[in-house]
Amino acid sequence: MADEVVLLDFWPSPFGMRLRIALAEKGIEYEYKDEDLRNKSPLLLQMNPVHKKIPVLIHNGKPVCESLVALQYIDEVWNDKAPLLPSDSYLRAQARFWADFVDKKIYDIGRKLWTTKGEEYDAAKKDFLDCIGLLEGELGDKSFFGGETLGFVDVALIPFYSWFLVYEKSGNLSVEAEHPKFIAWVKRCMEKESVSKSLPEQEKVYDFAMLIRKKHGIE
């Protein structure tokens, strides 16, 4: 029986991008469905009744919600190609730790970079750069967090690059100036088709963010 894979997603979501990259890395064919989050489809509400959020991976009719949970699911089911998690248990724990770190920090701090001003913004800017610094430290001299190939942490983190124009333009921030090694890693990731085809253009994301900002009266 052929696998039926559907991805419920929203084009600027870094969490959705994670799954796009993983599916591409593993060469899995799937149907992409872009949701209108102001008008959620009955399918989304049915497949993720608890959170009503994207992304949702639907495999042969069964939904898997939460992007890192779905990433592990994809890695376990399609385990013949492009492994995301290493086989060593300690290294797996480390990968899970840093992916969890990205989840706990990057999205929320990043959001503050374009929705706050003054002292709150300054604190967020410092936090953000500290986090990038920690990640850069973890990367060390490796080409990718996964070693020679894209791994769990790479896939969890790189989607946020599509939001860097939003983060940087809003307040005169340059990640490259502070952390050039991090940007070198970004460029290596972007050379991979699975990544470049899964991330939207930064300008498009910027326009989207500015629309949201205007709509919510944040100037």
């Binding site: 608890v50 949970v69 592990q72 699911y73 376990e76 248990s89 300690y90």
Partner: protein, 221 residues
Amino acid sequence: MEEVKLLGAWPSPFCYRVIWALKLKGVKYEYVEENLTTKSERLLQHNPVHKKIPVLVHGGKPIPESTIILEYIEEVWPQNPLLSDEPYERAMARFWIKFGEDKTSVFIAYFQSIGEEQEKAKNEAQEALKTIEHGLGDKKFFGGEKIGLADLALGWIAGWLGAMEESAGLKLLEPNMFPHLQAWIRNFKEVPEIKENTPHHDELLAYFKSLRERSIASARS
């Protein structure tokens, strides 16, 4: 056999979930009680990013974050499995583990607040419990017939919530509201490794009463 150490702090439920996993798998370990007001060099060295307990130290290598420790324990000591072999079932367990983690702040808010704020937090907390009740259904445990990682991660509801409710003076698990969850609490508490490794209600009550007094006092000042 490489040495296993657990850096913890009584009565953290995040610690206890690791203790339960180690006990269920018959893994010998050394427990080290950490002082969270004056953090040791050892703790800061083993968890420099978050500086929190629990940290499992296996053969000298540290693994922080309780849910990550649970997955590590499951992989390294596969006897008495706490996760299904089946990827979809594993994804379901991980979903509920994450749900519990994401709702921690709601329960903390309920515990630390008073008056109207507490009423609001109570409603949110009960919504979370209703979702868990629905997800559990009439299964004996989250994993089915056997206790699993999701049960361990949500185990604080069985051992800690009662004492929290009593000291906060506001009940969450109202009678007849959560029949599946109440049944699960009874089943969970009966598992020998859980029964023998859960703080006594009276000790928890004293602990939470003192904690709540301090939280309210600092909120007022």
